[in-house]
Each structure stands twice: as C-alpha cells, then as structure tokens.
C-alpha cells in the first residue's frame, strides 16, 4: 500500500470511529445538544461528558503522538501556526455559537446526522456549505 493510500484508509477509519462516537453519545440528536446549551431549562450535562471524555483520551494520547518526529504516513504534523487570540477568532466563534444554539448542530453531528436520512441535516449541511462559500468569497483575508 502506498503512503497516500494508507493516509486515505486511516482518514476513513478515523471518520468511522468519530461518527460512531457521535452516534453512541447521541450528539447527532440536536435536542440533546440544545438541552445542554439550555441552562435555563431542563439542563442535560451529557455534552460536557462527551467533551470531557474526548479531551481526557486525546490529552493523554497526543502527548505521546506529538513526541514523535513525524506522523506514521506523513512527513510532518499539520498543526495550526497561529497562536494569537484575535478578533477573527472571537467573532467567528461567537457566530458559530449562535448558529449552534439555533439549530442544535455543530459541523460533526450535522454531517453525521445525514446517515439518518434527516431532512434537517441535509438543509443544515447545505447551509454550512453556503456559509463556507460566503466566508471565502466576502470575508476571507486576501493574500
């Protein structure tokens, strides 16, 4: 197997495990997500445990992974280069949160929910693609 094929296979495998995790934790159910964000209603803390479980595992494992010189099937780690907390980060995250609270989907669960033949998920993912396009077209920094 070439390295490119190995990369493709591992991306597929990682996606499968991610999707399984989203479904088992019920994060593909937008009500479950909204119940977490609804601190003034019947609060459901489940999402915090999903995030906690994921961070717990990743924090431990990534320490070992990032000690390696390079990934197994790639010549370098593609890590974000920016470290600055700037207005773009704050504005973008704020806008994302508003959309998250309106729909109950963030990108992962929105895409994963396509598997349930959910009309909502289809509309949501189309909206995300449109939002992505609008950003690239009108708001992305030039250069």
């Amino acid at each position: 197997m070439t390295r490119a094929a190995a990369r493709n296979a591992s991306a597929l495998a990682a996606g499968l495990v991610f999707g399984l995790g989203l479904a088992i934790s019920q994060m593909v159910n937008p009500r479950k997500v909204l119940d977490f964000l609804d601190v003034a209603g019947n609060w459901d803390p489940s999402l915090a445990l999903v995030l906690g479980g994921a961070v717990g595992v990743a924090m431990l494992a990534l320490r070992f992974v990032l000690k390696r010189k390079q990934p197994l099937f790639e010549s370098e780690f593609h890590l974000p280069r920016t470290t600055k907390v700037d207005r773009r980060l704050l504005a973008g995250s704020a806008i994302f949160g508003i959309g998250w609270g309106i729909g109950g989907y963030c990108p992962g669960p929105g895409i994963a929910a396509l598997s349930a033949a959910s009309v909502e998920a289809l509309v949501f993912v189309a909206g995300m693609a449109l939002g992505s396009f609008l950003y690239q077209r009108f708001a992305a920094p030039r250069g």
Binding site: A11, G15, S46, A61
Partner: protein, 167 residues
C-alpha cells in the same frame, strides 16, 4: 427483563419538561454513553494526528474539502466515514435516534449558514477547538470554546425562551 438503557437510551422525553417543570431533574442525562462516545472521539482524533498528522476538526476538514484542491481525497473519506460510522450505530441500535421533525427549516438553514461562516472565520468548531485544541492546551482554542459555549447558550435562551420556538 428490560435491557438496561445505557447505550440505547431513546429520544429524550420532552414531556417531562412540563410535568416536572419546577424539579431539578436530569432524567435525560446519559453519562455512560456520553463518556464512551466521547472516548471514541478522542481515539479518532489521536488516530488522525498519529497516522496522518492532521487535526480532527470537522469544520476545518469540511472547509478544506469544499476548496477542491488536489490531494484532499482524505478529507472526503473522513467525512464519508463520519456518516458511515454514525449510520452503523443507528443500524445496530435503531431506537438510538429518530430525526427531529417539525422544527422550522428556515431556522435550520440559518443555523447552517452561521455555523459554516463562523467556523471558517474562527478556524474551528467543537472538535477542532473543543477537543483537539483543548487537548493541546492551545490558548486560542480555549478562548474559542468558551466563546461559542457562551453564545450558544445565549442563542438557545433567545430561541427557546424568548421566542418560544419548541425544539
């Protein structure tokens, strides 16, 4: 004997909200499945970084895939895996999730546009900033996560409690 509803908890019973309005109850809380699912997401993030050197941020992977650059097949495969992995669980455990119906689709579309735009500008979402970024103790990601948690909660408050849209 009824099977213990640990991993198969059905859709939350929304009626509880009205019956027990004044009682603090966490009947919908599903800690075991949340931790197991969360751990799987952590394993996925580990796999992608260890094998491919990539951050498992779904929004970043998606925005990249939409740019249609050469050598980005892995992005589409990751996204396909996301759908197939969730689909496999729904197939194995059919009561796990019934799609929500009746929520206004224009609001869903608006939500999608804001999430697409916001994650592109903010450089990440719940997975990229929330899981991977916090795990690497990135200050940017911690600030981003706190920001979208706060605006997400405010947004739900407005939609559910001020505008009274049932979800």
């Amino acid at each position: 004997m009824k099977p213990r509803p640990i991993l198969r908890a059905g859709a939350p019973q929304r009626d509880n909200r009205h019956n027990f309005r004044r009682v603090l109850h966490v009947a919908n809380f599903t800690p075991a499945s949340a931790l197991i699912g969360g751990a799987l997401i952590g394993i996925s993030a580990t796999l992608l970084l260890w094998l491919n050197g990539r951050i498992a941020g779904v929004s970043g992977i998606m925005h990249g895939a939409l740019q249609q650059r050469a050598g980005d097949t892995w992005r589409w495969l990751f996204l396909a895996g996301l759908v197939a992995g969730a689909g496999a669980w729904l197939w194995l455990a059919p009561p796990a999730f019934a799609p929500r119906a009746g929520y206004p689709l224009p609001l869903v579309l608006l939500a999608g546009v804001l999430v697409g735009f916001g994650t592109a500008q903010g450089g990440g979402c719940t997975s990229g900033h929330g899981v991977c970024g916090i795990s690497r103790l990135s200050a940017r990601s911690i600030v981003a996560t706190l920001t979208f948690l706060v605006t997400g909660m405010a947004s739900v408050f407005v939609v559910r409690h001020l505008l009274g849209v049932a979800s």
